[in-house]
């Protein structure tokens, strides 16, 4: 019952979350009704970007930050429940939402693409797998950041951060293509940040079987790493009175 209540809380805590799910799924369906997208539109990439990368940041916005800022956290951490358990259940709640969302999105796209033939649904299953893996990684990073950042700022910070990192990579590789610093930075982004590039390659079936399994393992390891970091922060953090 403990895990169930915490997991359900991740969905019920705000009406906004259910609206987001419905809006995202409705948008995928609605896109089939308009003359655009053109035939080269890749549904898998669309789901990967919107549901795999952006959605977890919205679903986990303020997942701990709201409780800490409002003072509600004082009623939770004084219960006989390990902070690691609380973190894990909340992350699991977001992950399950992502899994159900992606399953429905995949079903909607597969069905409508079958009827209309619009866009490109090649390797849709691989894209959905990659989307769920990247969803979990972003969710873990965002949930951990929520432990130290007030309210819903974790999601916004990650969107801004990701944008700046992408801009940085683009500038460095364009201006200083062969430099050591560029290699160091791009290497850090590829291996320590959510593995967008690697999972896109996986989804496009550009990787061998072992390469693909390695990408999956790498993604899972990063998810675990971010999660452990968040658990440590949550267990060591102090909770002063409201206005923290």
């Amino acid at each position: 019952m403990k895990a169930y209540e915490i997991i359900m809380e991740t969905l019920l805590r705000k009406t906004f979350l259910r609206v987001i799910h419905l809006a995202w799924l409705g948008t995928y369906a609605a896109l089939f009704l308009i003359p655009w997208p053109p035939e080269v539109w890749n549904w898998g990439a669309c789901v990967f970007g919107w549901s795999g990368c952006l959605l977890p940041l919205l679903l986990s916005a303020g997942i701990f930050g709201d409780d800490i800022a409002s003072g509600r956290i004082s009623l939770l951490v004084t219960k006989p429940i390990r902070p690691e358990y609380l973190y894990a259940c909340r992350w699991l709640g977001v992950s399950l939402q992502g899994a159900i969302h992606l399953a429905i999105a995949g079903g909607v796209i597969f069905t409508l693409h079958g009827f209309t033939g619009r866009g490109n649904a090649e390797h849709l299953a691989l894209w959905l797998l990659a989307a769920w893996l990247i969803f979990n990684t972003w969710a873990a990073l965002s949930t951990s950041l929520s432990v130290v950042v007030k309210r819903e700022h974790n999601g916004m910070l990650l969107v801004l951060g990701a944008g700046m990192v992408a801009l940085g990579v683009s500038l460095l590789t364009g201006l200083f293509p062969g430099s050591y610093g560029t290699k160091l930075f791009t290497g850090f982004v590829r291996w320590a940040c959510p593995p967008v590039e690697l999972l896109v390659d996986l989804a496009k079936a550009r990787r061998s079987l072992w390469g693909g399994l390695g990408d999956v393992g790498h993604s899972i390891m990063l998810t675990v790493f971010y999660g452990v970091l968040g658990m440590i922060l949550l267990s060591r953090r102090e909770y002063k009175r409201t206005g923290d």
Binding site: E9, R72, P80, I81, R241
Partner: protein, 317 residues
Amino acid sequence: MDAVGHSATPLIECREVTKTYRSIWTGRSQAVCALRDVSLEIGAGTIVGLIGPNGAGKTTFLSLIAGLIHPSKGLVRVGGHPARSIEARELLAYVPESPVFLARYSARAVLRYHAALHGLSRREIGDVTERLLKQVKLREYARRRVGGFSQGMRQRLALGVALINRPRLLLLDEPSNGLDPIGVIELRRVLSDLRQAGATVVISSHRLGELEKLTSEYIFLDKGRIVRFGDEAASRQEAFVRVDLLPSGAGINAEQVAPHRLLERSPTRMRIAVTGIEEVPDVVRRLTDAGGRITGVQLESEDVEQAFVRLCQERAS
């Protein structure tokens, strides 16, 4: 070390506890020491009132016991376990000032959620939820969302949440905020029942009159230090004699009643501090020698509010 309560094994143990708040941006330059070298023990089966001026460290003290914050120095134990441990949390319950719940949850859902966090089974959760809704008088609001609750209703709900696991230690920070008089009476009854069941209650409140109806044991904090600790006799050392007089020309000044301390003076009434009834005849004699025409003499003792004001004035001077 100061001690309160009747048990050989203290339920709360603080040893040289100091808490300093520092910001990572300002560092030591603007550090605030909220508690300094606090050492005390509180046993089982007692209600302790925690009083002090604003900023004295009351909430910090409660937060340390509840395990919400770490002490900068010293140690805090609850039931023999470190304050932040799972074992300590199984013993205690904490009701913060202005409790907050998920606005979308109903009162019943909140109780169910917190009961689940205690690891109760589905059936136990159902039983406990209904019992507590009745106990805190929220049964008719069980399905209403907490977002529409008044402050007093949230306080009642927070008390219900705290009672889920029948705690051995209950920490309350201004619990009567927003409660109507009936609610205050109910709260008093609940806390008395808890004490009779052997639980310990530490209650921080500015409503000294309400505290006085609950307990005779107090911790008085000022600027992070314990100024007074223990039972009523220790806290309320001051008694005073109230003397009614006929108005006289020059009046009586403090030197004329020395060595007794003149607390208050008006043309027809004086209050003079004494340590006991045996000093009253001497006070009367001095007033008479000074020309006072006495019409009435009454020995009174300080209530908690008067003791609090006096202690604050003593500290300020």
